[in-house]
Amino acid sequence: MDSDHGVKGKCGVEASRRPEAGAPLDLEELRERLRRKRGPELWRSLEELAGTPEFADMLHREFPRQASEWPEGVSRRNFLQLASASLALAGLTGCTKQPIEKIVPYVRKPEQLIPGKPLFFATALTHGGYATGVLAESHMGRPTKIEGNPDHPASLGATDVFAQAAVLTLYDPARSQAITHGGRTTTWSAFTTELGEQLRAQEALGGTGIRLLTGTVTSPTLAEQIQQLRTRFPRMAWHRWEPAGERQSFVASLRAFGRPVETRYDFTKADVVLAIDSDVLTRSAGSTRYQRDFASRRYVRSNQPRANQPQQPVSRVYCVESLPTNTSTVADHRLQLAPADVEAFVLALAQGLGVAGGAPQTLPQKAVEWLKAVTADLQAAPGRSLVVGDEYLSPAMQVLLHGINQRLGAVGSTVLYSEPVEVDPVDHLVSLTGLVQDMNAGRVEILVMLGVNPVYTAPADLGFAAALAKVPLRIHHGLYEDETSERCHWHIPAAHELESWGDARAFDGTVSIIQPLIEPLFEGKSVHELLALLAKQPGVTGYDIVRQHWQPLLGGDFEAAWHKALHDGLLPDTQAAPAGVAVAGGAVQQAAAEVAGSVARTRAQQDQVRLCFRPDPTIWDGRHATNVWLQELPKPITKLVWDNAVIIGPVTAAKLELAHEEPVEVTWKDRKLRAAVWVQPGVAPGVASLSLGYGRTRKGDGDQDEEKTGQGFNAYALRTSDALWTAPGVTIRGLGGRYVFACTQNHHAIESGIQSISPQGEISEDSEVRKASEEAERRHILRVGTLREMRADPDFIEKEGEEPPAEMTMYPRYEYKGHAWGMAIDLNVCTGCSSCVVACQAENNIPVVGKEQVLRGREMHWLRIDRYFYGDFEEPAIHNQPVPCMQCENAPCEVVCPVAATSHSDEGLNDMVYNRCVGTRYCSNNCPYKVRRFNFLRFSERESPLYRMLYNPDVTVRMRGVMEKCTYCVQRIEQAKIESKVESQPIPPNRLQTACQQACPTQAIAFGDINDGEWDVTRWKADKLNYAMLEELNTRPRTTYLAKVRNTHPAIDAIEAIEQRGAAERTDDGHS
């Protein structure tokens, strides 16, 4: 981070800010900047600290500006005078007295702090305004890891990828580190002075010219503060723009119920679920909780329920979709339909249930049969069935779903309506449009933007940037200097949520207090502190603001209640109140007509493609663009990293004559975007998707290296206000050539001679992706069966493989007398959400390697999630398989290491001794599961010094040339053993968790002592569904899998069986 200032200046990236030639070096400012530098990066060097253009300019010149400014006609005499003076003065520097700095040890140790032992603080992290309760792990004052808060309803102990990666954002060197005015570093007091003047002027006008722009706000304190601000400025306006917010759901709820209502689902009660193009399990505010609830009805393993829940029948899940979703990877049946057919399907379903009228819809034959089966299934479980969509369905479709759910009796059981969680909910699009109109009309004098980046995220047709230029005073508050801050007068660095006080509500309304774990690293200000300044309360701390808000509300013994709220991480009984609403019949009819119209329109435009915008699965709306963990996290299903892509299906590719990875020009109305296509099996014909958040022009300070921050294509450039999620008819034109995407699984489709999409849109047999999936199925790597098969023959999974007898080894059998650590992974509930991957990365100090190294196949994740397409390759079922180290008892890696750097522990762990490793990579070659990762270069050493604060002190940081791999979180095991020794108690069953297990929202991972029957893992391993990957190799893996068992519908099963036989015959022909 530090050195980049200099580099940036030198390269002239910020040439516009370079002072006029001859401007003196502003030493005052430099001192000021120096004074503000603090924290870990203290004293690097003066030049680095003073990352100002002047300084860069000075570096650029051979001599300081002052020195080179000779007056005209310097004589030899003058020169000698100056030279001698310099010499004399140079000697004087030696006389500088070093300042006395005392270091003092703790005289009295802070309470609770034991060096080497982490502390956990309950707090909350927000995403898109909604909170998830978390426990933040702090090592000697440094937050290092985020875990879910088991008591919090949105978490139940698990997290999503964003929460896991939040600590990295905290230490992100790209964060803005100083208040700037016109791009120049300045001070908070300068800001307060200027703002104070401007506000005083506004006071007289009642604040007509003041505008606030925020994202979704759920914070009660912030709501109160804005209210207070309104008392000072009654005519001030508050606008909202959450680029990936739930705006269509909002509109749908207005249309269906006449007022804003929050829709929640209770998957625990749902026997039958029909998901329509729905990513509700991974892309909604409550998704972490939904996954848990969903999974609770999907455990086929016999020895569940966990913790005394009665065993409920396994639910049945149908997915009808045009774009593959995480939800469909855990569905029993997946029906891939073109977008118009999906709409027609829902309409036909509504008609079948008598919810909507209208002309009957034509559907593909397969869909018709499906519809029959699904309708019957849904109707057979009144009150226990659920049709779920998500934000990205059009409002009309969502209204239809509301109507269907009401007819199915789901409301109050599987579907819950509650009062909105968002403060003062509005239509964000209307809100933002209003702001732009006001700005264009010159009605906005002061615009304060809190944590938003509208220049980048606003719909392209609004012309936000142009309108913004007309505002006389523009203030941006955010974690990063971004596209918006560039166009603002002031940029105020925001404090990270781990650095500041605050509060927020979860998807169900539960309030959490956000407490800081560390002083702001860069003197960021929280949104509360900034608002306090606007409300003329300068100097009030965030702590006081939040406490003052809650003091009257908590009442009674405030201190006790406050303490408890902080300790628990939530305020009990603060859920949003249920809303007793009913769908207006007319609304459904109107929606049905609208959907019918949409179907007809789409079908008429055969040659056009429907482009769907989606928040990116890892960097969301672009706010995580500098978070390298999330950038390098393989996106579920595509396994792309560092990029987004125009994702199309093979049929569309064939029709448009596009090659895989071909650069294209996408045209939506009169807007054009250059991007590149990614041909993805599982995407229906006639649809493309492009995720938001990429193609940014300014991603914060510091590391602007494209390789490190991702490239991609700016979807916002096409996203207009009438097409926030769906551009119904875009044209995609191939430009030829190739854009290189980095992908972590079977990337070499092209090199292996695929290309090969036939004119019919079939992906060739040669395609690595296809071959890999077919081989995985043939090799029984990921085993899938059906409940019916299981009932007919409980051993059917075991019979797929062939385990050699235990004595088939040269070496004597080792008896594991003490602990024997093992893991089991239930494939039935793995949604591929990837929380475990980021959790593993955070826990184990796993480096990030960048796009170029991923292209070379050198990503470092210890835990990967493999994805396979089974069945008909054109309409595949998609499966996930998390793969950590198998910790084989007969480990092939151990025998071949020449220096015994990997060897077996007496607890059955396949230990990796980094210090001993010389790096022959033989172990990795010989690992049948390919779970070992090698430090080909200085991956860890290259990282910013700020990131070093993030390291888990219990885990060695590996140097270049050293092999590494999953250790089953051996540091946690050792911690547990030490504790058990101290307490003279055995490790309590299921108390010890690996990082991946702890983060998993669906509890798909069990870990523990397989010598002890009390642990879940032991029970899972005893299950009939338990199998070892590649067991015929006699490696005796300690990590085993529970096979995926689908609860299929017999009628649909029959259709699929016929198709699969056809596919199998085709495949066999290809190989015989």
Partner: protein, 462 residues
């Protein structure tokens, strides 16, 4: 195989081992003049280019040590690439020397005499090149000594179950014995050079390694005993080294590696490659130094025959690999070999068959066998083919193994090539120094082959 024994049966005409008209004196004159006369003009550019290539090696190694092996194309899942391919390739080339020196000596193949010195030197240089790679390819090359069993404060031995440790022993033993064998054979010739050298410095420099050789009967006796013993020692090494090298693969469980046929077929492959390289180098040098009298048609033909025979063994190995992949019924094996022939690296495999199987069949033709140009042509193909063989074994086996999610592709980077070309530079530099400074054909042994010498007092040292 052809022998020199005078059998009563009428034999087809065989060209002599030494061209007619030579006496022991002319033999000595001719061979020692190569060393003692003025340096031929072509030597300077030849050595210069080799030396430049050697500098590329230094550059590549510097970059490698500073940056890490990430500059190469190796990745997950292909953990071994050019380094191991080249290691095996060079080691294979290094086999001809010992085979010619030791085994042919024991089998009384006199024709070996004119090529053994040269082949031994080539062996040494090839082993030197090969020996670099296992160290270079380590992630932390500065810890390479941990592979040696030495007493240390860590209280740790190497892990003796690992074939890489066996490799350390096999290769280092081979290098040592080869050197001793070569040096022992050089002693009488060094003395000759010492005696014939005119320059004082040359006299001293040749005199020291000649170790006071005066050609007394006792000297000859000791020499013969030592030489025979060393020949006996090296003979098993010819078989063992490449067998152990093949263990690097066979001990692994990767389909395409895990095969019992590897040891014999690796050894045959090594001899095949070694002879090809001997021919590649001998033919131009023979022309350059005018040694057609000592390296005759006979030698060329015999070497061609050895190549043909070993080449067929190698091809048999290929066939057996495929047969067992099919016959064994193991799905992974079957897939691996199908992938070898039809997967993304199928062109490497097809080229391998062209180079190692189809082209060498030309050696059935006597005309090709006895034409320097034809032999050079074929041996170049074999050189490339043997490199491809190692590529196919190392890379195509690794790139698609058990778990399909982890399949990958491999491509050598510019630094892979720089290192490879650099070791060729090292090899050639050493070779040109050798041909300039030491007699590339054994003088005293050649003298025994001169028809006059038969039955004279100096017996062939057997």
């Amino acid at each position: 195989m052809a022998t020199l024994d005078d059998a009563p049966l009428a034999k087809p005409y065989r060209p002599p081992v030494v061209a007619p008209g030579h006496t022991p004196a002319t033999v000595t004159d001719k061979i020692s003049s190569v060393v003692l006369q003025r340096t031929p003009k072509w030597w300077y550019p030849a050595f210069g280019i080799s030396f430049l290539l050697l500098m590329i090696l230094l550059m590549a190694m510097t970059k490698l040590f500073l940056t890490g092996i990430g500059i190469w194309g190796v990745n997950q899942p292909i953990g071994w690439g050019f380094a191991i391919i080249n290691f095996v390739w060079w080691i294979g080339i290094g086999h001809a020397g010992t085979l010619i020196s030791a085994i042919l000596l024991l089998l009384r193949q006199e024709w070996r005499t004119s090529i053994n010195r040269f082949a031994e030197a080539m062996t040494l240089f090839a082993v030197a090149c090969a020996g670099l790679y296992p160290v270079l390819h380590l992630g932390r090359p500065w810890l390479a000594y941990w592979l040696l069993p030495y007493p240390n404060t860590m209280g740790l031995w190497p892990q003796f179950r690992s074939p890489l440790i066996w490799d350390v022993f096999a290769v280092s033993t081979y290098a040592t014995v080869s050197f001793l064998f070569w040096y022992t054979g050089l002693v009488p010739d060094l003395a000759t050079l010492r005696d014939r050298a005119k320059h004082k410095l040359a006299k001293i420099l040749y005199g020291i390694p000649a170790m006071g050789w005066r050609g007394s009967a006792k000297h000859w006796h000791n020499y013969e005993v030592a030489y025979l013993l060393l020949a006996g020692l090296s003979t098993p090494l010819v078989l063992s080294v490449h067998t152990v090298v093949s263990f690097d693969f066979t001990i692994g469980i990767i389909p395409g590696w895990h095969a019992t046929i590897f040891p014999p077929y690796f050894v045959a492959g090594a001899i095949y490659a070694g002879f090809a390289m001997v021919l590649t180098l001998t033919l131009p040098l023979r022309a350059a130094f005018g040694l057609q009298d000592f390296i005759t048609q006979r030698h060329l033909q015999n070497m061609g025959k050895v190549m043909l025979a070993t080449g067929l063994i190698v091809v048999y190995g290929y066939a057996m690999e495929f047969f067992f992949a099919w016959y064994g019924g193991n799905h992974y094996e079957r897939f691996a070999f199908l992938n070898r022939a039809t997967g993304p690296y199928r062109w490497f495999w097809a080229s391998l068959l062209l180079c190692n199987f189809l082209v060498p069949q030309l050696l059935w033709i006597r005309k090709v066998r006895s034409s320097p140009f034809g032999l050079f042509f074929v041996s170049m193909f074999i050189n490339v083919g043997m490199w491809l063989e190692r590529f196919v074994i190392v890379v195509t086996s690794l790139h698609r193994d058990f778990v399909p999610s982890s399949w990958g592709m491999y491509r050598g980077t510019i630094w892979d090539w720089a290192t490879f070309i650099g070791t060729i530079g090292l090899f050639l530099s050493l070779l040109f120094l050798f041909v300039r400074l030491l007699p590339l054909i054994s003088i005293f042994e050649m003298r025994t082959l001169v028809p006059d010498a038969k039955g004279s007092s100096t017996e062939m040292p057997r």
